[in-house]
């Protein structure tokens, strides 16, 4: 049942409770090994900052760079940015993506992705072929200031059709989120960060196609196993599951 070679498109280095990257890797890798996860996309840092400063952005990206340097065959990175600080964001893209080893960009809740600053980041991502992992929620009580919804991401993706986006959590309220991103073929949704509810993966495949759904866990905030259950337990054929578990991310990452 365990699918070897699985790619987890969405993790954070939160497992070691503030420990250094080596301790974080030592804690994550045995669980990844058990669940057949070959490669993990890491972003943010041991602490989540809603409005990260330049120093916090640097520390987060340094942390993940060391994680990748220690285990280049097990981790890839998304550069954490605060788009409110556009100059520093563009510089960080040069330092982390152009110069490597990061392959994408992570945008969390510092600024809603409908803001023009994000367009500038997307233009540079487009030039570089860099993937953008955008947190998306439809919160019942209204989103936090700066928090993007799948509808915000769909509007952004329409303006940047050559950039590949991952709509993280599919909006959490995924029955709405999947519908919101459906018209934009350059958005994939990931499976991460909520309970393994019946019908999520099936609906995403029905509406978007299996080639637009990617397995992610949100580890260490969620277990690999509980999030893999959304794929393993889904009423889908093996070909669709293979795309979700690794095929799509292999394509997106050019592996």
């Amino acid at each position: 049942m365990i699918e070897p070679g699985t790619i987890d498109c969405h993790i954070h280095p939160t497992s070691a409770k503030g420990g250094p990257p080596a301790a974080c890797a030592d804690e994550l890798l045995p669980f990844a090994d058990r669940m057949g996860i070959a490669l993990m996309g890491t972003s943010l840092g041991p602490t989540f900052w809603q409005q990260p400063t330049r120093a916090q952005i640097t520390a987060d990206n340094d942390f993940n760079a060391e994680l990748i340097a220690r285990h280049p065959d097990r981790f890839f990175g998304y550069a954490n940015l605060n788009p409110n600080d556009l100059r520093f964001s563009l510089d960080e893209i040069e330092r982390r993506v152009v110069d490597g080893p990061f392959v994408g960009i992570k945008l969390w809740v510092a600024l809603c992705c409908d803001h023009p600053n994000v367009d500038v980041i997307c233009e540079r991502a487009d030039e570089l072929g860099a993937l953008i992992l955008q947190h998306t929620f439809f919160r019942a009580g209204g989103n936090m200031p700066g928090e993007s919804s799948p509808a915000d991401l769909a509007a952004l993706a329409a303006r940047h059709p050559e950039v590949t986006f991952i709509g993280a959590h599919a909006g959490l309220d995924w029955e709405r989120g999947i519908r919101a991103v459906a018209p934009r073929p350059n958005i994939l949704v990931d499976t991460c960060g909520f309970d393994p509810e019946l019908g999520y993966t099936e609906m995403a495949v029905a509406w978007l196609g299996a080639e637009r759904v990617a397995y992610g866990s949100d580890a260490a905030g969620r277990s690999f196993a509980s999030q893999l259950a959304k794929v393993y337990g889904a009423d889908l054929d093996d070909d669709a599951k293979a795309l979700i578990l690794h095929g799509n991310m292999r394509r997106v990452l050019g592996l």
């Binding site: 393994p196 893999l228 393993y232």
Partner: protein, 257 residues
């Protein structure tokens, strides 16, 4: 079944999924997908269990439905005989009819009577004589319990009075941090991890406080998916050998397979 095949100690038929055979076929599809080889099945597709106590006639109907499913797929389902202990003579007769003479392998108790009441003792005693495990729903409700819904401590009281009977504490009380503690002193109770979200630490705490040999995998399918409940075991920080015990070995022993 294979020597290491997964045994799910807790599945049901349910009215949301059609008649007994349609629901069983749904269970089999999910089980095949996840490598579950044998399922302990109880209760038919009747709805009234949620609204009022079960009559004797309804108890028979539940077990008839399960018997029909077992007859069709005898290598995939093991029957758990549903009883309504408010009707003790009829329940004891049902044990003779279904368990002593087969094909049911154990007993299922839900919420028709608190399980620490005296009516449960003759049932537990007979189950012990037959080597049939008793699966008792246990839940610690924050609010609005079902009628006569038993907390794990009530099962512990029954288990201490009937030390030769094996009990499965279904859901381990739901609030498992309390439930595990409530059954710790009754070594003949196993923690059935079914139902509820795959929360971090459940299997680890149960294994640590009860011993791995007292923790068994169950799903509560089709109310919960096999995959989400297996994730509790697959994602747990326990050795591979302990996982195998939870997924298969202990229930093989309990069912004398």
């Amino acid at each position: 079944m294979s020597a290491s095949g997964i045994i799910d100690c807790h599945v049901h038929l349910h009215h949301n999924w059609g008649d007994r055979f349609a629901c069983a076929e749904l269970l089999l599809r999910g089980a095949d997908r996840m490598g579950v080889e044998l399922m302990c099945l109880s209760m038919g597709v009747r709805r009234e269990i949620y609204t009022r106590p079960t009559t004797v006639e309804e108890m028979h109907q539940h077990n008839d439905e399960v018997a029909q499913v077992i007859a069709r797929w005898p290598d995939r389902f093991a029957g758990m005989c549903y009883l309504t202990p408010r009707f003790l003579p009829q329940s004891l007769a049902e044990i003779e009819r279904r368990v002593a003479h087969g094909p049911f392998r154990g007993i299922k108790l839900l919420w028709d009577m608190y399980c620490d009441r005296p009516n449960l003792d003759p049932i537990a005693a007979r189950a012990g004589e037959l080597g049939a495990p008793i699966q008792q729903h246990t839940w610690i409700k924050a609010i609005a319990e079902h009628r006569c819904e038993s907390e794990p401590w009530r099962l512990a009281a029954l288990a201490r009075r009937n030390p030769d009977t094996t009990f499965l504490a279904a859901h381990t009380g739901g609030n498992w941090e309390l439930g595990i503690r409530q059954v710790i002193d009754a070594p003949n109770i196993l923690a059935d991890i079914c139902g509820g979200d795959p929360e971090m630490g459940y299997v680890e705490m149960a294994a640590r406080m009860l011993g791995t040999e007292r923790v068994v995998y169950g799903s509560d399918a089709p109310g919960r998916s096999f995959a989400s409940q297996l994730a509790k075991v697959h994602g747990a920080d326990v050795p591979d050998a302990d996982q195998q015990q939870i997924l298969s070995a202990t229930m093989r022993r309990v069912l004398d397979l």
